[in-house]
């Protein structure tokens, strides 16, 4: 399976993402610069964390208008898996691919630590290798991870099982401790925690690996025909 790791000016988790895919997962990955206008050769799209365009105006707002985002939208429409982590999640909400928005943490602090996450929906393209309700340990590193949406949107998220991960504890003010959501179709996931930083037992544990394995497993089942 071949992944595109999209790189914006100010992305800083692109190397971690690449490492996770290439070295830990054993799949193909390529860096793709933000002005690219063709993602057709990739099977999945990864938007890494960082501070694209210095978080100017709003987090993800300027990256959202990059040329490559039209291609990311096309990939999403084609049903390819699209995963946005941290700043990638912020970009996906700004681009309108996911509902809601990420606000400043309620305590106004940038927080960097490993937190407990609950798998709220283990029946998605990204989570089948987890158990429903499983608690996993994944690092976070964000100053603006306070998920906000209006009541109507929240009801829709609930009804369609779009809440995929929630925090075990409330530390950033996110509505109902939401840590990650998926689009209605089920192929675009955005999350603030960093599964790509938890892919090896030596560093931060490997609870994040199952997320990437889920994507690859389902892609194989759908696309690889056995002789």
């Amino acid at each position: 399976m071949k992944f595109a790791v999209i790189v914006f000016p100010g992305s800083n988790c692109d190397l971690d993402m690449y490492h996770a895919i290439k070295d830990e997962l054993g799949e193909e990955a390529e860096y793709v610069w933000h002005d690219s206008t063709d993602l057709s050769k990739y099977d999945g799209v990864l938007l890494p964390g960082g501070f694209s365009y210095g978080d100017y105006l709003r987090c993800g707002a300027i990256a959202q208008s990059s040329a490559v985002m039209d291609e990311v939208k096309k990939a999403a429409e084609a049903g390819k898996p699209v995963l946005g982590i941290c700043n990638g999640f912020q970009i996906l909400t700004e681009a309108g691919l996911l509902p809601g928005v990420l606000l400043r943490n309620k305590n106004l602090k940038f927080m960097c630590k490993t937190v407990g996450l609950k798998v709220e929906n283990a029946d998605t393209l990204f989570t089948t290798e987890y158990e429903q309700g499983q608690e996993i340990q994944i690092p976070i590193a964000h100053g603006e991870g306070n998920y906000y949406c209006d009541d109507e949107t929240y009801e829709q998220l609930l009804q369609n099982n779009q809440i995929v991960f929630s925090y075990a504890d409330d530390f950033n003010g996110s509505r109902n401790q939401i840590a990650g959501i998926i689009n209605e179709r089920g192929n675009v996931l955005g999350m603030m925690p960093h599964p790509e930083r938890a892919v090896s037992e030596l560093i931060n544990g490997d609870d994040g690996l199952a997320l990437f394995k889920s994507i690859v497993k389902q892609w194989r089942e759908a696309n690889v025909t056995h002789a």
Binding site: A61, L103, K106
Partner: protein
């Protein structure tokens, strides 16, 4: 040339932790009169003269990039700028 002044504010329903922190600080300084603080943004754009519908143009830019209407409201004023 026209000068456009855009005021971006957080919607009423959205909590403003930054505003709350500033209010806390004002209270500590003794300004107990302050009941609420909301922090927004101010943008100034210069637009070339020969635009037909500046209103429509500014609205479009606000909705596409300058504001996030999920959490923000905006209003703007258009002024004739004196050319240098």
């Amino acid at each position: 040339m026209k000068k456009v002044k855009i005021y971006v504010t957080l919607r009423e329903s959205v909590l403003d932790p930054q505003g709350s922190a500033v209010m806390g600080s004002l209270h500590k300084m003794g300004y107990s009169e302050v009941e609420d603080v909301r922090i927004g943004k101010f943008l100034e754009l210069n637009i070339v003269e020969d635009v037909q519908d500046v209103d429509a143009l500014v609205n479009e830019m606000c909705q596409k990039l300058l504001t996030n209407t999920v959490i923000e409201d905006y209003r703007f004023e258009i002024e004739e700028a004196v050319s240098q």
